[in-house]
């Protein structure tokens, strides 16, 4: 008899949703891999409205031509560098969510305030609680998330048990030599260091216990920091850590100048890395439990600038891929003839992405009173 049957036999099942997640430990945890496109990805040249006359009018130099794009239907097509992800689209495992942005973005289009809002889902620019800590408000003993790189971003916050790391093997090897430290200090900076050390000690015990070798997986990923980071995430998922979230970043998408080559290179890195990731997940029967979601501080200005580049904009399209994705187009393609001070208009609140993950993917409640987007079956 498993735990669920046991609880059912006690008639306790209706209350199951009130139990903290740790009670259900041992069950398969669905996870999300957040991919931050740092610097503000130009989504108009990623998901391209290649039959829209306004697009060509706004971007005489930068527009991709019909014969270049990979058509997805209804006049929308992908940047050619996204080719490695096309099979996922054809398989119904890729969703595009259009017109996503920060409603009433009142602060100027700053990288720093915008990404802070995306990370925290809060208007308070001093908040240090990432949005995930609001979906998973309970204190967890086991690791809840890993960030490959330096910034916890959406995984930040006192009680959300996440660590950041560069190389998983070096991380595991070093950690074992750390001494124990007291857990409290009245000096907030020292308290932060002690808490970080404590988190390392806990993570070290868990990582050395659970991490499987599976080094060979690395060969299946492209070279470079993004591919290597995805390989680390894949190894953690395959080691059954059952963490709900991973994060990795790629950049710099801040293409004010000479955009074409740079954008091509970055999207190629993105698509090749994620295609390899999806193959590894499929080969190990995990693809149905993994959801990859892109995000970025903002989209770029609809019109190109004078330097073969684009300036900061607002709304953008983002994608989700995974075995549990209901593929297709969601939201509406912004009307390029009805711009707001040069920007496409938001039609979807960015928190709708988080609410959809909370309710439909993790089966939790959403702290944000916004509608779901049905890209998760």
């Amino acid at each position: 008899m498993n735990r669920r049957d046991f609880l059912k036999s006690l008639g306790a099942l209706p209350l199951l949703h009130l139990l903290p997640a740790s009670v259900e430990a041992g069950q398969k945890q669905r996870c999300v891999v957040l991919v931050e496109l740092k610097g503000g990805n130009d989504s108009l040249n990623t998901l391209v409205p290649y039959q829209d006359a306004a697009y060509y009018r706004l971007r005489p130099q930068l527009a991709l031509r019909e014969q270049q794009v990979l058509p997805l239907g209804n006049g929308m097509g992908l940047h050619p560098a996204m080719q490695p992800l096309l099979p996922l689209w054809r398989n119904g495992e890729m969703a595009w969510i259009q017109g996503v942005g920060i409603p009433g973005q009142n602060l100027a289009r700053s990288h720093f305030t915008s990404i802070h809002t995306w990370d925290t889902a809060s208007e308070d620019q001093h908040s240090q609680q990432g949005w995930l800590s609001r979906v998973f408000p309970e204190q967890a003993q086991h690791l809840q998330g890993v960030v490959i790189g330096d910034e916890l971003g959406p995984l930040a916050g006192g009680h959300f048990n996440a660590v950041n790391l560069h190389d998983i093997d070096a991380f595991a090897a070093y950690i074992s030599s750390l001494p124990a430290v007291p857990t409290h200090s009245s000096n907030p900076m020292l308290a932060h260091i002690l808490a970080t050390q404590q988190r390392l000690l806990n993570a070290g015990a868990e990582v050395s216990h659970k991490l499987k070798g599976n080094q060979a997986i690395k060969q299946q990923f492209p070279k470079g920091a993004f591919g290597e980071g995805l390989a680390s995430i894949a190894r953690l998922i395959l080691s059954d850590f059952n963490m709900p979230v991973y994060k990795i970043g790629l950049g710099n998408f801040d293409t004010h100048v000479s955009q074409p080559n740079l954008h091509q290179k970055l999207l190629g890195e993105l698509a090749n890395g994620l295609a390899a990731f999806s193959k590894v997940m499929q080969a190990h029967g995990k693809w149905g439990d993994v959801m990859v979601l892109s995000y970025s501080e903002f989209g770029r200005r609809a019109a190109e600038n004078h330097n073969m580049g684009t300036d900061h904009g607002s709304a953008a399209a983002h994608f989700a891929i995974g075995g549990g994705v209901k593929g297709g187009m969601y939201g509406t393609h912004p009307d390029l003839d009805a711009l707001n001070e040069g920007d496409v208009r938001n039609s979807l609140d960015f928190r709708s992405l988080y609410a959809s993950l909370a309710r439909r993917w993790w089966q939790r409640s959403s702290p944000w009173p916004v509608a779901d987007i049905p890209f998760i079956a």
Partner: protein
Amino acid sequence: MIPTSLDLSSARHLAARACIGEEWKLLQAWQGVSAQTTVRQLLDAKPHLPGNPPALSSWGSWESMLESGEMSQARERLNRDKMALKQWWLQHLLTTTTPLTERMVMFWHNHFTTSINKVNQPDLVLQQHQLVRQHALGNFRDLLHAIARDPAMLVYLDGAMNYKEQPNENFARELLELFTLGAGNYRESDIKAAARAFTGWTVDRNSNRFVFAAQHHAPNTQPFLGKTGVADGQQVLDALLAHPRTAEHIAEKCWHAFVSTGTPDKAEIRKWANAFRESGYEIKALLESILLSEAFWATQHRGMLSKSPLDLISGLFRSLPLSPAPPQELVKFAEKLGQNPFVPPTPKGWEGGKAWITTQSLLDRYGILFHWSRNLRPANLPELDGAQITQWLLPTAPANPLAGTTRQQILLAALFDPAYQLK
């Protein structure tokens, strides 16, 4: 209380924050002297300028290499130049005789950020770096005006490509948000007006100097910060300098760099900002009001800052008798700890404070301290007991009691104590 006679612990406090590391020689010299006198001496010292800047390729030569198709050779040379520049500065951080100047070079490098990886012209970045050092303790008005015409900055924030037909807003946006007023003190329309005013400020690609290209300039005709008649870039800079938020914004950044990462004290900020503006933006006047403020010396602010990677690395070598490390190792470890010199992650610079300490970076900090502590020459350690070692190297009580019987053992225990990460 502002000490009238520095004890060991107060001397360490001043050294770790206004200078670099916990230099024993300095601490010895300062004990028994007043804060007033010590700060005056620091401010009056003639800046030590680093000798022998590395010989770097000029843009022209490697642009022609790029054109003649020798891409890999050009790239190799570029990377070599970047590395030479980083090593040269780190070496200077380890050896400078006027560490307050370098403290401010680090501060301004994190304020007027420029990434060598975007500029890709190490010679221009070196030129900017020397400019920053020249003004590090000088006048902020001069520094701001010079930075707006600095070729590396013009390339980094795309000012060099700001044409009247479609102004590029990148520099104007960061000028308002990061360099002067701070977020929330202007409108989107002010950015557009400023961007227009700066059209035509560019870099001559032959001489690598600032040039005003009149054919690309159209004066701004829209109101800027509610004022009309702010037509060109100089007028924008002057309007920003006339705005009281600019001095306050710099003073707030100084609070986070010199006092605490907590919310700045409003009255103190007003005081510092007023001193700064009344002096006509003399940086020494600002520093004097900071370093001789109650807030700077307050017990509750001791040990409330984290050491940056450059603090940790250069401070370690300045404080302890260690055999020297290879310069490329200094650079490699700074990068590993999250502060690759001349490569700030964004125009906002390194976030600092708590963000310096992540699970990965804390692990690396201990690893690096372990690696270099093997270079310790114990015979050259000063004769100190355990309590003195604590006061010398740690701003607060150690998290764990410092175990050990010999000087060397106690010293190593202090290095590996979490409190050593504080200043």
